[in-house]
């Protein structure tokens, strides 16, 4: 029974009957709203913010770092502050650490405990990022996982896995590919993919 005193079905994701966890979520949400701890509009607004984020934001950050050495230095020193310079706010209270790929070090991000992900700069994670297979294998057999994504790294490159277990979120700054000296910042941003910013692949030379 909702506050306005007539029963109705909650507005959900689809027409199918809700499962156990959906019912739990609906019950919790309705209680929080009825008790005045969260307003329905604040909740709606938060979902709107979440849905407004996409990998295009991360791509802009990477492209700026590729063309502006001072920005890159600030980005590596304090990822959250540098993103906010570009209008990308860390709306969820997390702090961003940016990991620079170099010819010597390749960074790979995973959350073995759940699915922590740099949502403010990349939006919602892909389904494979949340899978048990990725979460368990990325820390145990990172080179095999990378190879399955088509990324074969020579042994002289250090593979550095980042297990996102607590308060920080991680974004990989991929290496700028060869043959892109003529491209402007927007064109460079167009080359940067979500997967490269998670670290399962590199940014390929266009063409």
């Amino acid at each position: 029974m909702t506050a306005h005193d007539h029963p109705h079905a909650a507005v959900g994701e689809g027409d199918e009957l809700p499962g156990y966890f959906e019912i739990l979520e609906i019950a919790l949400r309705e209680l929080l709203i009825e008790k005045g701890l969260v307003s329905a509009d604040a909740l709606r607004r938060q979902i709107e913010i979440l849905d407004s984020r996409s990998p295009a934001l991360g791509s802009r950050v990477v492209a700026r770092a590729w063309v502006d050495a001072a920005f890159k230095a600030r980005l590596l020193a304090d990822g959250s502050a540098a993103c906010e310079e570009l209008g990308v706010t860390m709306y969820d209270g997390t702090k961003l650490i940016v990991l620079e790929n170099t010819p010597e070090v390749h960074n790979l991000v995973v959350c073995t405990l759940c699915s922590c992900y740099p949502r403010p700069v990349l939006g919602l994670p892909p389904d494979w990022y949340k899978s048990r297979a990725y979460r368990s294998r990325a820390v145990r057999w990172p080179r095999s996982v990378l190879a399955e994504f088509g990324t074969n790294l020579p042994d002289d490159v250090e593979v550095r896995v980042h297990d996102s277990t607590a308060a920080m979120r991680y974004l990989v700054l991929p290496m700028r590919p060869e043959g892109t000296d003529d491209l402007d910042e927007d064109a460079l941003a167009g080359l940067v993919t979500r997967d490269a910013m998670i670290g399962v692949t590199r940014v390929a030379t266009p063409g």
Partner: protein
């Protein structure tokens, strides 16, 4: 709360198995790594999870482990690593 450990210091993760979903992954418990950096202190999630929000913040670290120290049968090169965020109460100074 001031951080007890500094960058490059060797630390060992406690080998404890309290119940519940905690932020210290099982695969690093009892393993030794090096403090990569000290992170801003934060609320201890093991207390926050039980509604205790007003406690002192606890230091948080990023600890770097060599893969070969985490997984004795690790197949890749010895320089491969894993960085994990670990709260201070899980860490002790490594025995040399």
């Amino acid at each position: 709360m001031t951080a007890r450990f500094g960058p490059r210091e060797e630390v060992t993760v406690a080998r404890r198995y309290p119940p519940g979903h905690l932020r210290t992954p099982f695969y690093c418990r009892g393993r030794t790594g090096v403090v990569e950096r000290v992170l801003p202190a934060s609320i201890n999630p093991e207390e926050e999870g039980f509604g205790m929000y007003d406690r002192a913040q606890v230091p948080l670290y990023r600890v770097r482990f060599r893969q070969v120290d985490l997984w004795p049968s690790y197949a890749g090169p010895a320089h491969d690593t894993v960085d994990i965020e670990i709260y201070e109460h899980w860490l002790v100074k490594a025995e040399s």
